[in-house]
C-alpha cells in the first residue's frame, strides 16, 4: 500500500500529471491491486466528495471574484484602500491581506478567496515590484485567514465531528483569524521595506473622497453580504450566490462595464476553475477514505496517545502531525477523520476542546499553502500562471509567519477562549 499510496503518487506528481489524476491514480491502484474492498467504492466516494452542499461556496465565490475583477469593482476597492493606506510601506500588500480577511468574513472557503484575489490583485502586486513568486505566495497564504475567521466550513465540520458548539467555535476563531491577518500585514510591511517598494503615494483628502465615491458600490458589497448573513436573510453558502448576483448587477447596470456576453465568459471561466479545484477535493477525499478504512489515522492517534506526553508536548506533536497531514490532505477531510480521534486525547490532557478546534483549523489552514501540496498553492498557480518552484519560494516567508501565529494560538488558549467567556 505504501507503494500505491505514496511512491506512485510522488512519481506521477513529479511527472507533471494533473493533481486530481495523481490522487485518482493512487486510489485506482490501491483498490484494484491491493485492498479487498469492492472497486465500486471508488465511484461511491468520489461522487460523495462532490455531493456536498457546502462546496457550492466555491463556484459562487469564484464567480463573484471574476465579476468583481472584470467589472471594475475590485479595481475601485483597491484604489480606495490604497488612497487610505498610501503612506504605509507595502500598502498594496497590506491591502491584499485586508481584502482576504474581508472575504474571510463573507465566506468560509479559502480557495475561492485565493482565486478571486489572484484575478484582482496579482497583476497590481507584480507591477508594484513584489515579484511574481512573492505576490502569488502572498495571495496563497492570505487565503488561509478565511477558514479561521468565521464563518468557516472547517470549524463547522470540527463542531460536528468533535461534538462541540459551532457558535462557540466561531467566536473562538475570530481573534486567531485577526492575529493571522495582523502578522501577515506586518510581514508584508517588512518585505516591502527591505525590497524598497515605493509607497503608493501620500494621503490626500481629495483623493480619498474621489476614490470613496468611485468605490461606493464595491464598499456596499461586504455590507450587503455580511449584513445579509447576520440578519438571517441568507446562509453563508448562499451569500456566495448573492455576492455573484450583486457584482453582476453592478457591473452590468451601474458601471456598465460588462455586457451579457462578457458576463457569460466570466461565468464559464469561473465554472472551469471551480471544476479544476473541486475535482481535486473529490479525489483527495477518496484517498482519505482509503486511509481511514485501513486505520491509518487511528494508528497515528493511538501512537500519539501511547507517548504519554505532557499537554504542551502533545500540542507540539499534534502541530507537527497536522502540518504534515496538511501537506497532503485538504482540511475538510482531515478534520472529519482526525478530530474524533484526537479530541478525546486532548480532553484527557486537560486541553479545552474549543481551543483545540482552533489549533486544528489554523494548522490545516497553513497546510493549504505549504509546498508541495495544497489547494491554495494549486489555485494560485493556475490563476496567476506563476511557475511552481517560484511560488514555493515566494510562499515560504509566509509559512514562517503563520507558524509563528500558530504557536501563539496554541500556547495562548485565551486568544481562542476569551470572547466565549466574555459573552
Amino acid at each position: 500500500m505504501t507503494l500505491t499510496l505514496l511512491a506512485l503518487p510522488v512519481v506521477l506528481l513529479l511527472l507533471g500529471l494533473p493533481v486530481f489524476l495523481v490522487l485518482l491514480g493512487a486510489a485506482v491502484a490501491t483498490l484494484f491491486l491491493v485492498l479487498p474492498i469492492p472497486v465500486p467504492a471508488l465511484h461511491q466516494v468520489f461522487f460523495g466528495g462532490l455531493d456536498n452542499y457546502a462546496l457550492l461556496a466555491v463556484p459562487f465565490f469564484v464567480l463573484a471574484g471574476e465579476l468583481m475583477g472584470r467589472g471594475g469593482i475590485a479595481q475601485r476597492l483597491i484604489d480606495w484602500v490604497l488612497a487610505l493606506s498610501g503612506r504605509v510601506p507595502g500598502s498594496l500588500g497590506v491591502a491584499t491581506v485586508g481584502a482576504s480577511a474581508m472575504l474571510g468574513a463573507i465566506s468560509g472557503s479559502s480557495v475561492a478567496a485565493v482565486a478571486s484575489l489572484s484575478r484582482t490583485l496579482f497583476p497590481r502586486l507584480e507591477a508594484a515590484g513584489y515579484g511574481r513568486g512573492r505576490s502569488a505566495g502572498l495571495i496563497a497564504a492570505s487565503g488561509a485567514i478565511d477558514i479561521v475567521i468565521p464563518p468557516s466550513i472547517a470549524l463547522i465540520l470540527y463542531g460536528l465531528a468533535a461534538e462541540q458548539s459551532i457558535p462557540r467555535l466561531f467566536l473562538a476563531g475570530l481573534l486567531p483569524g485577526l492575529l493571522l491577518a495582523l502578522l501577515m500585514a506586518g510581514a508584508v510591511v517588512l518585505i516591502a521595506l527591505r525590497a524598497g517598494i515605493p509607497r503608493s503615494g501620500g494621503f490626500d483628502a481629495a483623493t480619498v473622497w474621489r476614490t470613496t465615491r468611485a468605490a461606493f458600490w464595491g464598499l456596499l458589497m461586504p455590507v450587503v453580504v455580511l449584513g445579509g448573513i447576520y440578519l438571517g436573510w441568507f446562509s453563508p453558502t448562499e451569500a456566495g450566490g448573492v455576492a455573484s448576483l450583486y457584482a453582476m448587477l453592478v457591473a452590468r447596470y451601474v458601471y456598465r462595464s460588462m455586457g451579457w456576453g462578457a458576463i457569460l465568459q466570466a461565468a464559464a471561466d469561473a465554472a472551469i476553475l471551480s471544476a479544476k479545484i473541486l475535482v481535486i477535493v473529490a479525489a483527495a477525499g477518496l484517498v482519505t477514505w482509503i486511509l481511514t478504512t485501513q486505520g491509518v489515522p487511528q494508528a497515528i492517534s493511538a501512537w500519539m496517545q501511547s507517548l504519554a506526553l505532557a499537554p504542551w508536548a502533545f500540542l507540539v506533536g499534534v502541530n507537527l502531525v497536522l502540518l504534515l497531514v496538511g501537506c497532503i490532505l485538504d482540511p475538510t477531510s482531515a478534520i472529519l477523520v482526525l478530530a474524533p480521534l484526537l479530541v478525546p486525547v486532548a480532553v484527557a490532557l486537560g486541553i479545552d476542546p474549543i481551543h483545540f478546534g482552533v489549533v486544528m483549523t489554523v494548522n490545516l489552514a497553513i497546510g493549504m499553502f505549504t509546498p508541495p501540496f495544497g489547494l491554495n498553492l494549486f489555485v494560485a498557480q493556475t490563476a496567476t500562471g506563476v511557475a511552481a518552484h517560484r511560488l514555493y519560494l515566494g510562499v515560504l516567508p509566509f509559512v514562517a509567519v503563520q507558524v509563528t501565529a500558530l504557536l501563539l494560538v496554541t500556547y495562548l488558549p485565551a486568544l481562542s477562549l476569551l470572547l466565549g467567556r466574555a459573552i
Binding site: P18, V28, P59, A268, A271, A275, A387
Partner: protein
C-alpha cells in the same frame, strides 16, 4: 477556439448563472415568504457535479488542469512530446479503470433504484453523469494519445532528418 469548445464554455457559463439565480431565489423565498423551492438544494448540488465533470473533461482537452509544472516546463521538442505521451497513457489507464469501477457502481444502483429525498430523482442519473465523465476522460485520453504519438513520431523523424543533414 473550436465550435465545440465554445459550446461547452457557453453551457458551463449558463449553468453557473442559472445556479446563482436559483440559489438567490431560494434564499429570498425562504426569508420573505417562508417557502423554499422544492429540491433547490438538490438541483444546485447536482448542477455543480455536472459542472465539475464537464469542466474537468474540458480542462483535460486544453491541458489546463492544476499540476506540478516543474518537469513539463523544462522540457522542449521531442522530450516534451514523449512526456505528453506518457501523461496520455497514465490518464488512459487511470480514467479507464475508474470508469470500469464506476460502471459497476451505476449498474448496481440502477437496479436498486434509490431516489433523492426531496425531488425523488433516481440517483442513478447524477451517478451516471460521473460515469459519463470518467468514460469521457478515458476516451479523450485515447484521442490525445494518438495525436501526441503522431507528434512524437514526426518530431523523431525531423530530428533524424536534421541529424542526417549536419
Amino acid at each position: 477556439m473550436s465550435l465545440l469548445h465554445r459550446w461547452v464554455r457557453g453551457l458551463l457559463g449558463i449553468v453557473l448563472l442559472a445556479m446563482v439565480l436559483l440559489n438567490v431565489a431560494n434564499a429570498a423565498g425562504r426569508y420573505l415568504f417562508a417557502a423554499s423551492i422544492t429540491g433547490a438544494d438538490e438541483i444546485l448540488v447536482f448542477a455543480m457535479i455536472f459542472l465539475v465533470i464537464l469542466g474537468a473533461v474540458l480542462a483535460l482537452a486544453l491541458r489546463s488542469h492544476i499540476a506540478l509544472e516543474l518537469l513539463p516546463s523544462h522540457l522542449k521538442g521531442r522530450s516534451a512530446s514523449a512526456l505528453f505521451v506518457l501523461h496520455d497513457l497514465a490518464t488512459l489507464c487511470i480514467a479507464g479503470f475508474a470508469a470500469d469501477a464506476s460502471w459497476q457502481f451505476v449498474q448496481r444502483i440502477a437496479a436498486i433504484n434509490p431516489r433523492s429525498m426531496a425531488l425523488g430523482l433516481p440517483m442513478a442519473i447524477p451517478h451516471a453523469a460521473l460515469l459519463a465523465g470518467l468514460a469521457g476522460l478515458a476516451a479523450l485520453a485515447l484521442f490525445l494519445l494518438v495525436r501526441d504519438l503522431r507528434a512524437l513520431l514526426r518530431a523523431g523523424a525531423e530530428a533524424a532528418d536534421g541529424g542526417g543533414g549536419a
